[in-house]
Amino acid sequence: MNIQNKIMHSLIMMMVACSMSGEAGKEVLVVADSGIQDKGFGAERVTSDFVLTDPAALDPVSADPFTSDPIPTDSGIIDPILTDLNVFDPGATDTGSSGTCGSLVAPDISACCKSCGSGWSCQANGCYNGWWCNLDTCKCQKPPDPAACGGHDSGPSADPGASNPDSGSGGPVQGTKLSNLKFAVVGDTRPPNIDDTYGYPTAVITKIWKEIAAVHPQFVISTGDYCFANKDGNQAAPQMDMYLQAESAFSGTVFHVMGNHECTGFTDSNCGPGNKDGMPVNYKTYLAKMVTPMGFSNPWFSQFYVATDGSWTAKVVVIAANAWNEAQASWLDAELSVPTTYTIVARHEPWSVSTAPGVEPSNQIIARHPYTLLVVGHTHTYRHNPSQRELIVGNGGAPLTGDFNYGYVIVERQEDGTLQVAEFDYDTNAVQDRFVVRPDGSLVQ
């Protein structure tokens, strides 16, 4: 008899014994008084069937506006379809900081742009990070081609932090060119107890990031919960520093999804100006360490990608369900309205966790648009829910609740246009689960 059977056998025998003793009038066991508390984090299950608004739009060739007319990503031209999107261009170039170029105004000249959010050093033209203001649209964009403007200095800047995102007020947008779509997903890396920095799962997340770096994904989505800290205490920063230290093994772009622990810790919390939980230290720390360095000013943002051969496009749309407001709702609807071959929506809470303020509203918006995968965390395990095209990746170091060991996911586009999703055990590197989806998210059997 193995140990588990032995335990259950003992448990059953104990109950039998207890029952017998009860029958005999000899009370052996007692129920102690307790101070049970329920934080009310429980989630209600929500089920929904998706109705694609336009299934034809999922055709990777015919419905893709970029296939026949790829975005000229290096020219500085703004694609009208993609304007007013909160994205950045890692391939932006720095043309200079003075003068004008047609309707474009350099950083040191006062202009009509208003792209500067809180936490950014605003230029005279209303942009930041060296970007220029387009007087025709009052929107910022990357510096113009120096050859077209009489010889401004230029230099490549592959650092996403050198880009000029705009959180809703418009900005230059282009898809970053990729030779293939290959990205990783990791999520939920908090200690078991609040402020337990000593118990941070450093070894797990360090190993995970080294393994991710070794497979060279083009970007990584981290699904949130980088800390477990008192919302206004001083432990969020050291815990996030531990996370970022582990993450430093990977030099590429990382999209840091906001988790409930980046707000107050409660799943029903809602941070941000004007929201009920305001700006606790955890939230501000997250913004400072994980959002603004990426070039974003809000915890919701997106990025567009274009195949170098123009054969496909993709977008990653990151939702902050614990910083939910109407502005984000409008932004999300607009982002998801832009047709791309692949749409990866990322959020911390899964579809069914309706206690998070932004889950049900964003579910409704998501359901109105085509998408390939909804990448989430929150639940400390790995799971694929085909009915919602949902991929739960929450086994990044937080105490495991399900059947899977700590690990991460690699998503890679195949030659036939499908995406292969593989979940890896961080300890053995063995694939624990694998499936393939079409661009519309349907499962390839």
Binding site: I7, G35, G42, N193, T379, T401
Partner: protein, 250 residues
Amino acid sequence: MIGWPMPLTFRILPLAIVLGACRSPPRLAVQVDKNLPANGETVIGAGGLLEFRLAVPHASAAITCDGETNEEDWITIAARTGAFVDAVSQRPSIPHSEARFLWDDKAFYLLLYAADIDIRACGGASGPEPGDDVFFFSVVTDGGVELNAVFSASGAVWGVVRRDGQPEQKWKPSALGVESDGTLNDPEDDDEEWVVEAAIPWDILDIRPGRDTVLRIALKRCDTPKFATTRCGSWGEDFAGRVTGVVELQ
């Protein structure tokens, strides 16, 4: 030496029988989850058994057993078991469980942590039901006092104390708090964790605590995840079910 877990109303297994169940010493060393800090050491104890020893510090301030871990001592100085392990493979068990210990002049304090995707606690006065999520706890003193208890996620505790030559005595903690992050007995959603904070008064163990006081402790947590079979992880127990956890008050 006792076997573990055991029915609460069963007698202690004779040492000879326990040893007879496993003639050779365990080949697998006790391992602590390398990903979680623990402040213990593994030593070869009496009878060739591998023992896992923890030094348990005195609390610097009062512990309020409310299920919250907001006392700084739980974070900074408490003895940590690290992740419970599967008794056979000695690998960290899934779902994750761990425990911490403190003491003061009044009691020995337990902090039990259980990650749990589906918190179940259906047991009533007669005991837990099959599939309930529980911690088994056993402590044995040099004075021959043995306390066995089962802690449920609902806050129910079923416990007995045995003393040599005396009838069993029912027991409950002098203070207990359970906090759950999730919904009890609702498999339709995903839960997160539950925490037990309990005080075991010294008088029930017939102990006047002091530095170098030694207790033998075993802990086991059993869980039945959704769509899966019951799995257990333990600390202070070898694969033959013997108590191998030794805590020494500091």
